[in-house]
Amino acid sequence: MKRFAAALLLALSFAGGASAVEPTERLSDPALESRARAISQGLRCLVCQNESIDESGADLAHDVRVLLRERIAAGDSDDKATAFIVSRYGDFVLLNPPVKPATYVLWFGPPALLVIAMGGLILGRRRRAAAQEVPLSADERQALARLMQESEQ
């Protein structure tokens, strides 16, 4: 029931079927509108699970979309408009979590893991190679020579 998220979300948050940006919400200037779309794809619909306000038809998503467009229309830059939304709803609203001490593990974990795994692989190889290169002892050499002779006979 993997898509239950979307399913229940649709069921709970709006009865109007799947919809996102409504025609009436849009800004008349296509350049501004496309900026608003891009920003809203990174903002979470707070009452939904893991959906952006651009995708969600919930009332709150609608409100945030309108709010964002108001700021954009008022001449805010992308960063400033985003900061305004964050100041009202907190970091929780950002689908792209900010890089800060609390998220260092999140952001740098995967590359660190890759580096550690690679380092482990290289070390493991070295150790194994070193273990393999133990020269034959005198006894072993004698035994080898004896075997070789035997097989030649």
């Binding site: 898509r3 239950f4 229940l8 069921a11 079927g17 025609p23 699970q49 929780f92 795994a117 393999q132």
Partner: protein
């Protein structure tokens, strides 16, 4: 009565599972063959018992027995028969029963098809399966019993969520669960091998078909879910990096790594300890997925199991199975002899790289999925980890995977010649460049990453074909001889080529989503909107009755240069019982692009909101996944896997050795 019998069968199955968990394990320990063989009999008894319980619940749904609470909550007499049946697993209790059914199915299959296993190994494998069965059967019987009766049966049921009443979603859970639970077999094999202290090529040969079969089912299951999201949600989203999607994606990534690393164990006797670990991780991730979805730990609306006792139970199961197996691993893995050595540039090396990146990918998805929970638990600010995070961390990991997929199979075992392999791939490289340049030209300098993705897809596809062509010496020898070579090529080789082609097809589809066009307007009857080179006209909207809903059915004509391209019927369906509206999108699929139209709400002036999309190559995403799964099945049909082949080969070798003495 039948419901009680089903309940009783489930209790019996639990008792049999207890027996299956303990007796064969003791038998393997004491070398008592009679006890060992109990595992087989128990597994063969357990399956019909669980199957009967499943059938009993299904029966209650089909006859709409509203004295059963589960049926009341999820069914309705008006519901079409198909959704009465699939409604069985559209809820918590039923889906757990489906989980156990799949487990019993796998256990029965192991008992039936593994007659050639050494008795001790078979006994231990079945015992581990029995232990998992004990845990989950107890979970169902104690916390999620689907057979409970209601004191006051109502006249009719509450019905199933309309969104779940869909063929795509009806069959999505069985495939997904078959994949999840199928990995319990490789898990059981891994644990058995750890107890045994021995892993060899034969072990890998036994475990690989099971892993491969589960992987195929999981691939199909995930693709179905994604396809369902695409046509249902009304704007064509198909992947959201939602925790519940991630729950199915993590075992898929780990399982993909597993089916590759098992090759190295089988052919080269290396990577044994790692493969065991991967088998444990893959199934653990399946369990984590189940836990995430079932326990309600996600602050999500998925949590249809909000009962904390359930959460605790699953958590305990999780700790016991994952903790137990990892402890066993820590104790026994160092004693596993590592085998064949290989140079970094070699087939083994390429497979190690594949494993490294896929495992890191799975870890990244796990981290991203659990991090908000983790921060919440330690009392930090609430945090959201959404698609942008995964796009930035996961996607870069997959780029080198794709780059390596083409070159890996061309490298020799032990010590490969990378330069030689790359030289043989010049055609693929040329194709990749050509596709990228063509993409840049056609989209007049479109998104760079998407064009890179298309180039990588071409590289992967051509790389797979070049490798295949080399194997059959295409164009080097007479076509007839090539054909003979193709016929004699092991099915596993054909399967690999197909699976890698499928991957390339999916990647192309994913990359091309960057080029989609969207048009959103309020349209009056008779008016048109322009979408890319298409003119979309809303001809009429009619009210139509359905079995348990009423639909607004729109007739939309799509024209290109005045010529009719398609007549489409997007709908809005209103379900009276649940007071809920769903969107039935109209999709015209073609090889190159989908036309996707959804009908939105009407406004006061007789206009209708129309969402129209042009989505190039989008169907390739799911088609590629099907090709991948098909490749897996072709590989599965390889005669080398069949029962007895390995045993006979060993017997022949022994006879020859005896004759040579």
């Amino acid at each position: 009565m039948i419901v009680e019998l089903g309940h009783f069968a489930l209790i019996l199955a639990f008792c049999v599972a207890v027996c299956q968990a303990i007796v064969p394990l003791l038998g393997a320990w004491r070398r008592h063959y009679g006890w060992m063989s109990v595992g087989r009999s128990a597994a063969l008894v357990q399956f019909p018992l669980v199957a009967f319980a499943m059938a009993a619940l299904m029966y209650a749904y089909i006859v709409s027995d509203f004295s059963v609470i589960n049926v009341i909550q999820n069914s309705h007499t008006d519901k079409p028969l198909l959704y009465k049946i699939t409604g069985v697993w559209g809820n918590h209790e039923g889906s757990m029963l489906l989980w156990v059914f799949m487990l019993a199915l796998c256990g029965g299959a192991v008992a039936l098809f593994s007659g050639n296993l050494p008795p001790a190994l078979q006994a231990r494998v079945l015992s581990v399966q029995g232990m998992i069965g004990v845990g989950f059967l107890a979970f169902i019987l104690l916390t999620s019993n689907p057979f409970l009766r209601a004191v006051m049966p109502p006249e009719n049921g509450n019905g199933l969520n309309p969104i779940l009443q869909d063929p795509g979603l009806a069959f999505h859970p069985p495939f997904l669960y078959l994949g999840y639970v199928g990995f319990s077999v490789s898990f059981a094999f891994a644990v058995a091998a750890l107890i045994d202290g021995r892993v060899d090529a034969a072990w890998a040969r036994w475990v690989r078909p099971w892993a491969l079969a589960s992987w195929c089912a999981l691939t199909v299951g995930i693709a179905m879910g994604s396809w369902w999201a695409y046509y249902t949600l009304g704007w064509g989203g198909w992947w959201f990096w939602d925790p519940v999607e991630n729950a199915s994606f993590m075992p898929w990534l780990a399982g993909t790594a597993l089916i590759h690393s098992a090759i190295v164990v089988e052919k080269r006797d290396a990577l044994k300890s790692w493969t065991i670990l991967l088998a444990i991780i893959t199934f653990s991730l399946s369990l984590v997925g189940t836990f995430l979805v079932r326990s309600g730990v996600l602050t999500s609306v998925h949590a249809f199991a909000v009962d904390p006792s359930r959460g605790m139970f699953i958590l305990l199961l999780l700790v016991a199975s994952i903790g137990g197996s990892l402890t066993l691993y820590a104790v026994r893995a160092p004693s596993l002899q590592s085998g064949g050595l290989f140079a970094p540039v070699s087939r083994e090396g390429a497979l190690v790289l594949n494993n490294l990146l896929l495992a890191t990918g799975a870890a990244t998805v796990l981290l991203g999925t659990l991090y908000p929970l983790f921060i919440d638990v330690i009392g930090g600010d609430k945090l959201t980890v959404g698609p942008p995070f995964f796009n930035k961390t996961f996607v870069p990991l997959m780029v080198p995977v794709l780059a390596a997929v083409a070159a890996g199979p061309l490298l020799a075992w032990k010590r490969g010649d990378l330069l030689g392999a790359l030289q043989r791939l010049w055609l693929a490289f040329a194709a990749a460049i050509l596709v990228a340049v063509a993409g840049l030209y056609l989209t007049s300098g479109g998104p760079v990453l998407a064009i890179l993705g298309l180039g990588l897809a071409a590289w992967t596809a051509l790389g797979a074909l070049v490798e295949w062509a080399e194997r059959i010496k295409l164009f080097r020898v007479k076509p007839g001889d090539s054909w003979k070579r193709a016929v004699h090529l092991p099915r596993a080789a054909h399967g690999m080529t197909l699976a890698h082609l499928g991957l390339a097809i999916s990647v192309a589809g994913i990359a091309a989503t960057a080029f989609e066009r969207e048009q959103l307007s309020v349209v009056r009857i008779g008016d048109s909107i322009q979408l890319a080179e298409f003119t979309v006209t809303l001809d009429k909207v009619e009210r139509q009755p359905g079995p348990n809903f009423v639909a607004d059915d729109a007739t939309v004509t799509v024209r290109r240069n005045g010529v009719i391209e398609a007549v489409m019927h997007p709908q809005r369906r209103f379900f009276e019982l649940q007071q809920q509206t769903t969107t039935e999108t109209a999709i015209r699929t073609s090889l190159l692009a989908d036309l996707y139209i959804a009908l939105g709400e009407p406004d006061q002036n007789g206009g209708w909101t129309i969402r129209a999309y042009w989505k190039p190559l989008i169907s390739w995403i799911w088609f590629g996944a099907l090709v991948m799964a098909f490749g897996g099945m072709v590989s599965l049909s390889d005669r080398r896997w069949r029962v007895g082949v390995a045993a006979r080969a060993r017997m022949n070798a022994k006879l020859q050795a005896a004759a040579g003495d």
